[in-house]
Subunit: 135 residues, 3 copies
């Protein structure tokens, strides 16, 4: 199953939501039996992104969301009729692809790191494309 | 040709320009005949970046550019004599590398996704390094 | 040594520091003897990131730091008791992973590009995970 592209789906819970997907990704990795390589993660959406941040104190995610709202307010000059231009901006700021090393069958994340699917226009169902690439 | 690094060039049209390069990348992929793997895209510049966003309604790109100008105004404390510090900032915010899965000979993009070369100090000619990596 | 995950450590010098690591990475690449492929770089921290920017005029990094401080001030609504929420935000804005093509044994960087470890909560020791992947 290594090398095969895999599609996971996640249900986000709020309009702006940082959904931690570390466990789902680690579980998917474990199914492949891959020991060393990388995980390549890709969000096929335009108002959701991917990031990494602390998963110990939930206040970090609270503060991150607060700060992102301040960075991306609705602007009077916005033209896009769907009214979600800030969501498009935030997705580009967080990014759509992430490559994480795998070591001894585990995502080689730091002690405090979790991987987050960043929803900016939810709640809704989102896809994540995953490829595990053995070294 | 898979595995070989390829260099594409693009002419940007404005000082701040989001040039959609999806078709050029798909065409380059098709030439390789690669069916499954990833495309690794890299911008060897410091005032241009890469992002993904909606390519259906052009108002999304309009709004994205408006928001980025607001995030990165010229600051009185800037020292760089070329006067393009905001362009350097925006390039780092969008990012320089992007990894996109390939499935059945196609970039596995979402329905509304396009890949954009983000020009922040144009117009000028820009290079993009491309590697297609088979799985 | 190609394909093996490698761990480098760096000592940052200031609370907000852009430490150029291009030479250290090129030196590590040279040890592997790899000619063509990619370097995959990953920061296993939540208040440090990775970016690329100009390494010719140090004023560019000065201006980048000035602009990032403006984008991420301390906000009254922040709850995280460690008081470094802005550092978490800036790490997510810069990003945690970077993939750089390698060509003829060299990082295929642009003329003005340097790779920076972005410290937002230093000074301290930071790790960087590196994988060289031959094509």
């Amino acid at each position: 199953m290594v090398g095969i592209i895999r599609e996971l789906t996640f249900a986000t819970r709020e309009n702006m939501d940082f959904l931690e997907i570390t466990h789902a990704l680690q579980e998917d990795l474990s199914k492949t039996g891959m020991k060393d390589g990388e995980g390549i993660f890709f969000i096929p959406h335009t108002t959701a992104g991917l990031t990494i941040n602390e998963n110990a104190d939930p206040d970090v995610i609270h503060d991150l969301k607060l700060a992102l709202k301040r960075i991306a307010p609705d602007l009077p000059g916005y033209r896009h009729l769907e009214g979600n231009s800030s969501a498009h901006l935030l997705a580009s700021l967080m990014g759509f692809s992430l490559t994480v090393p795998v070591r001894e069958g585990r995502l080689a994340l730091g002690t405090w790191q979790g991987i987050y699917l960043c929803e900016f226009d939810g709640p809704r169902r989102r896809k994540l494309l995953v490829r595990w690439r053995a070294s």
